[in-house]
């Protein structure tokens, strides 16, 4: 029994740590594939993989509500909309619009330089690990006394910050996000009306009477 345990230990630790690495690799690979593919529907497919794996990374970062929101809003909503747009606009010859090779090389060069710049700054800056506070709540199931991110997020959108305001002496209230929340709501309403106005069917002439 002990032998089996120790023999399979690497395998299980691979599953344990490897799942997050799988999401990391999937995100990177799919993002690169979005750039490289020429067919716009394939781009949409790779974008789905990229954004879905990002949702997986959110789960790994203990942001379970955000991960689910990413899946619902982004992958299930926005991307369906995009694919829908592709279907409405892709007609034969416009399916593939090739970038000229010169542009591709230039963009690749600039892209790699930008990536190099970002990567070096990521590696060289010490990101102050000592300033870290323990996360609000671990992902998954949290017992009653530990709360969860959903509750905390909801309260902060209502203008309360349970992790900052409550339980502190002389805490200054009002560090929440009530105003941005309201602004975002109005913004969404405006967008709803605006998008419906822009995309409405324009009838240049009245349809012939039957």
């Amino acid at each position: 029994m002990e032998i089996v345990k120790s023999a399979l230990e690497p395998l299980f630790s691979l599953i344990h740590a490897g799942s997050v690495w799988a999401f990391v690799l999937a995100t990177i690979g799919a993002a690169v594939a979005v750039v490289l593919s020429q067919n716009v529907v394939r781009m949409a497919f790779w974008l789905i993989i990229a954004l879905g794996s990002t949702a997986g990374l959110f789960f790994a970062l203990d942001a379970d509500f955000l991960g689910a929101a990413q899946l619902l809003v982004y992958v299930g909503g926005t991307l369906v909309l995009l694919v829908f747009g592709v279907m409405l606009t892709a007609s034969g010859p416009f399916m593939q619009m090739k970038t000229s090779p010169g542009e591709g090389v230039l963009a690749g060069f600039i892209g790699f330089s930008l990536l190099g710049l970002l990567a070096t700054s990521v590696c060289t800056v010490a990101w102050d690990p000592h300033g870290a506070v323990a996360p609000i709540a671990a992902a998954g199931y949290n017992p009653a006394e530990e709360g969860n991110t959903t509750r905390a997020l909801g309260m902060s959108l209502l203008g309360l910050r349970p992790d900052k305001d409550l339980g502190q002496e002389n805490a200054r209230p009002g560090t929440g996000y009530l105003l941005p929340f309201e602004v975002a709501s109005v913004h969404l309403l405006v967008v709803l009306v605006g998008a419906a106005y822009l995309a409405r069917a324009k009838r240049r002439q009245a349809p012939p009477a039957l």
Binding site: A17, V34, A50, L61, F84, M97, G131, A184, A195
Partner: protein, 103 residues
């Protein structure tokens, strides 16, 4: 196998950002450009959430990421409506053809 730490998340976010930027610059399909925007926003989001988890940013990072998701959805809806009316007017979705304002 090492655990995935802050640096790795930041690197992934950088890759998403760069891919999105290159996508915006090179794609001639308006919807392809939109997809580039989505990638860029996701890179930024991943940064926010990673900092929320590993530094003193705390819950703020997640709230901002939530706003980004909401606004990105709104942006996609409007941009798609614009792309569709562009298509209605030009009978193509190639952004290089939208050049009447050259003067």
């Amino acid at each position: 196998m090492p655990a995935v730490e802050l640096d790795v998340y930041l690197f992934v976010a950088a890759v998403l950002f760069v891919c999105g930027a290159v996508c915006m610059a090179t794609k001639r399909n308006a919807i392809g450009v939109l997809m580039g925007v989505e990638l860029v926003l996701n890179g930024a989001n991943l940064n926010f959430v990673a900092f929320a988890r590993y530094t003193a940013l705390g819950l703020d990072g997640q709230v901002i990421a939530l706003f980004v998701i909401v606004l990105a959805a709104a942006e996609a809806a409007v941009a798609l409506a614009i792309a569709l009316s562009f298509y209605n007017n030009h009978l193509t979705i190639d952004v290089d053809r939208g050049n009447e304002l050259h003067g």
